[in-house]
Amino acid sequence: MKIGARVAVVGVIFCVILSITAIIQLQSNKRIESLRREAWRDADLLTLVANESRGEWVARAAGCIGCHTDSENDGEMLAGGVGFDTPIGRMISPNITSDRRYGIGTWSREQLADALINGRAPNGSHYWPVLPYTAYRSMKTQDVVDLHAWLMASKPIALPDGEHNLWIPDAARHLVGLWKVLYVPAEPLPNASMPSGQYLVQNLGHCAECHAQRGITSGIANRSLTGNTQGPHGVSVPAITKTALRDWIAEDIAFYLEIGMTPDGDFAGAHMAPVIEHSTSHLEPADRAAIAEYLLSDINQ
């Protein structure tokens, strides 16, 4: 009798938790759908004219090439295969070339926007947040359109995606909807008055993914660039706030982002070297100057 009662209580608690989860999940999905519509409202995703060559700039600034190109093993550009050690296991970046079978060659603009801004796959499932959609949330519609055109024109590579090696079942991906409620910013619309440096650092460049502290569920509640003692692969990532960069002038930062040299003549290694190689060194000098200006401004505390 006693044991039966206990089982019943546990069962009831379990059901309650399950239904609360389901409700939040549904709400989250609803919210994401409505936000998406809002995001397309101001500049119609489907009518904007794409500038394909500018799309490469977007791909560089957003770090697509670095994470989706297995340079270490001479992999083809954008064909995926880069491993990421996360708290739930090892994830492998997918093929995002224009290959219609193994890549994303069949994706529409809307599907790409949905992936980058809402973290949703074309089949409606959630992406693991290793894809930094929390930062891409405020991506400008024109940038999505240009990136889409450039990706669709990329060399198709028929390489199947590598398998993730996770210690939790793939079904747990449903819980990402819950996670999004906590960490996907509420305002999806790009702010027209946002300085370009801030947009490059906090949105396209997603610097906070490594340079900010993550919480217990791997979410970044505060995107201040105060560093992360438990960075990728267990390596500590330095703070890059205005205070932390007090010995750097704007030219030092721009120079570092171009060739990886610190003010004292040391050279970046580890995980920043590929960022410089695939992303920041390809930007325009004005972009690096804008990033430096933002990093040394009072907002970056």
Partner: protein, 184 residues
């Protein structure tokens, strides 16, 4: 004796609170200075033998890279002699790199080392990077020498030096990315 005590008695009240605070602050600063000096000496003491040698070689190249970098940042005026000296340093140290990473227990795991075991697992790539670095540094030297004989220094020539320098130091990042362990 009486005179002496009276002098002290006279001087103590003269020596006001602010002076005392000043003295205290000065001695605190001295103390901090001594502590910093001792710890920095210790940091160098940690490395010895081959590890110390190669760390000093890297530091020396870094110092030259900084000097040249400062020119391109506009922190220092453009000077071809510095570039020539930098490229000489890069070539000289670049040539010693393979010798400075012998496959010995001390070299692999000695105190303070930041050398990754990948160096010895992938020795061919490691030495190929060093050779690339020497080639690019020779090119930098040649570009600087060519400019030294020409009379005018225009934007194109500084751009050429800049890109030759960038090409040379690209090896620094390439090598650190694969073969240096991250500290901290």
């Amino acid at each position: 004796m009486n005179n002496l005590t009276s002098t002290f008695r006279l001087r103590w009240p003269e020596c006001g609170l602010s002076t005392l605070i000043r003295i205290a602050l000065c001695s605190m600063l001295c103390f901090i200075g001594v502590v910093l000096a001792v710890t920095s000496v210790k940091a160098h003491e940690g490395a010895s033998g081959i590890i110390k040698q190669r760390m000093e070689a890297m530091k020396s190249m870094g110092d030259y890279a900084k000097l040249v970098g400062d020119m391109f940042k506009g922190k220092a005026s453009f000077d071809l002699d510095t570039i020539r000296m930098a490229s000489e340093s890069f070539i000289r140290h670049g040539q010693t790199i393979p010798m400075q990473f012998p496959d010995t227990p001390e070299s692999r795991e000695g105190p303070m080392t930041e050398a990754s075991p990948a160096i010895w697992d992938d020795w061919q790539q490691f030495t190929a990077l060093a050779e690339q670095f020497i080639r690019d540094s020779r090119q930098l030297e040649a570009v600087a020498a060519m400019l030294q004989t020409s009379e005018t220094l225009d934007d194109t020539s500084t751009r050429n030096v800049r890109s030759a320098f960038f090409k040379a130091v690209k090896s620094c990042s390439n090598c650190h990315e694969n073969f240096r362990l991250e500290h901290e």
